[in-house]
Amino acid sequence: MNKQMRQIKTVMFKEVKDNVRDKKTLMSSIFMGAVFMPIMFVVMINFVVGMQKDKAESQLEMAIQGANNAQSFISFIKTKGVKINEFSGDARKAIENKDEEAVIIIPEGFSEKFSRGIPAKIEIYYDATAKGSTNVTQRRIKALINEYSTTIGMTRLQLRGISPLLLKAIVVENHDVSTSQSKGAMMLSFLPYALILGLFIGSMYLAIDTMAGEKERNSLEALLLNPIKRSNLLIGKLFATISFGLITMVITLITFKLVMPFMPLEEMGMTVNLGFKNISILVMVLAPLAIMAASLQTIIATFSKSFKEAQTYVGMLMVIPMIPSMALMFMPVKEKLWMMFTPIMSQNLIINQIMRGEPVESISIILSIVGSLLTGLILALLAIKLYNRESLLFSD
């Protein structure tokens, strides 16, 4: 091993040793990124899926005011197994206070209009912005009323000797071609973010400590006086930073693999295959990102005078991996080749493909690795260039 390599190794090992000893901060960051997040993720998904399932299958209860005004409607919904709760008071208030999920008001003149064949009015009070189970309740109520309305309408036409089929100008036939996996993948689209974030969290602390920390401890000047090229010094520090990102990433993957059995995958209609092959693909495409994350964080930390300042700025970087994840969550796009060349986005797409059970093409993997590696190396070179400035010591 030549002298340069030995020096780089010395710097790297020192930084790793130094930081492993800082158990409090370091472990909390690795723990947060690699263990807590995946577990939190599983708990959340279980909660959401469980809630939706419960509501969709549970007995529907309807708060109705003026049930006496529409006897036939009431007996119709009773045959559908709906439990009717007499309601009296202010419907608007009851929704606002979340006492009721929805309130139905049948006005006085209902049966009169109904028997004369004029559209009779039913009022529904609800909160369209409400989340989760309330939403399910609203949909079920509306569907019931529509069903009743259509049934009565058709009966009336038939009584007048008109085919109810005339009402149907168009019949819609649904062909849902999504595989069972891609339905549930919606829920899992947060996973790429969790994996990429784990990587960023893991290397963040070392980037700050090896750069801004060195300044804050006043140890930088003495360090620079050693007969080692600054570029080698920085490469050693970068390697240490990258290694922590990689370790965190691998632990995150292991945690995910371990918690997968606790995911409500069946209820979501999917089977995620986190076998050896897919795990290997994940490691391959995520690893180059570690270089990018570490270099980016190191560059930011170089400019910071103190630990605190660096923490603020490097913390803001966490938003970057969020952008493509969020974008893809809300506006799914068709994968194009250039996207596979774009770091973070390509990892997002590939992780999503694995989640959906689609095969990942080799060209995608290669482009993703090359793109991320190139970006990472360019950023690393920039970090080295910045570290070589004379003003490095005097930036304050």
Binding site: V11, K17, R217, S219, A222
Partner: protein, 243 residues
């Protein structure tokens, strides 16, 4: 031996060092004496090639540190004015790290550390993590790590700044021993007693230039004063005298 010829440096508008020339030979303690902001630290930083001089030449045992920084640094042991240690490492590990960066073998580091521990009296804390060390303990570790490669030339920026009497004496006697071993020692200070007690030759730095030099008694003669402090004031005020 450190030879400095007409170096200068300015930071923006401020000319920190205008024209500094001197030679610090082996087996001698040379002191740069000057007020705060006189240009001592900047001069030293140029000598140990942390900053590049605008003009002038520096030679460390014949090596120009601006042309061959790594070679020159092997010949230099420097205690800068910032002397932070790695708090989560022990004193020994701090010294070891610098030894490795100097390319020393493990056995070399072990034996050199052993003699430094003895000379600087670090037995009590050498294997403790440096977090919470006293000022004196910190400076000793900082000196030890700076000199782990046993360099011929030793530069110290305000070495006893903030130290108590015992630590100061310890550092002084260590420097004397190094001088007896034939080392070239160059240090800066603004403390008269310190300079008087340790140095063989005093260089008075004022406003970025060396305005006088010589042994303590030579400076007394040049100025007609009988204390170093009076001589210093006489020189930096151009003979106008006390403020």
């Amino acid at each position: 031996m450190i030879e400095v010829t007409a170096i200068s440096k300015n930071f923006g508008e401020v000319q920190a060092v205008k024209d500094v020339t001197f030679t610090a030979p082996d087996s001698q303690v040379t002191a740069l004496l000057g007020a705060n902001g006189a240009g001592k630290t900047t001069s030293l930083r140029m000598i140990y090639s942390l900053i590049t001089p605008q003009s002038g030449e520096i030679l460390i045992d014949g090596i120009d540190p601006n042309k061959q920084p790594e070679k020159a640094r092997k010949l230099l042991g420097v205690l800068p004015d910032t002397r932070g240690l790695y708090k989560r490492l022990t004193a020994r590990e701090n010294i070891e790290y610098f030894g490795k960066l100097h390319g020393m073998s493990d056995t070399e580091i072990v034996s050199r550390t052993k003699s430094l521990v003895k000379d600087l009296r670090m037995e009590d804390f050498i294997d403790r993590k440096t977090d919470g060390f006293s000022q004196g303990q910190r400076v000793k570790v900082a000196i030890a790590r700076a000199l782990v490669h046993d360099p011929q030339n030793i530069i110290l920026d305000e070495p006893t700044n903030g130290l108590d009497v015992m630590s100061t004496r310890g550092v002084r006697s260590f420097l004397n021993k190094e001088k007896e071993r034939g080392k070239c020692i160059l240090f800066s200070s603004h403390v008269m007693q310190e300079v008087a007690a340790v140095s063989d030759v005093i260089l008075i730095v004022n406003d970025g230039v060396i305005s006088a030099s010589g042994t303590e008694s030579e400076l007394h003669e040049q100025t007609g004063m009988n204390s170093l402090e009076d001589a210093f004031v006489h020189i930096v005020t151009d003979g106008v005298g006390h403020e």
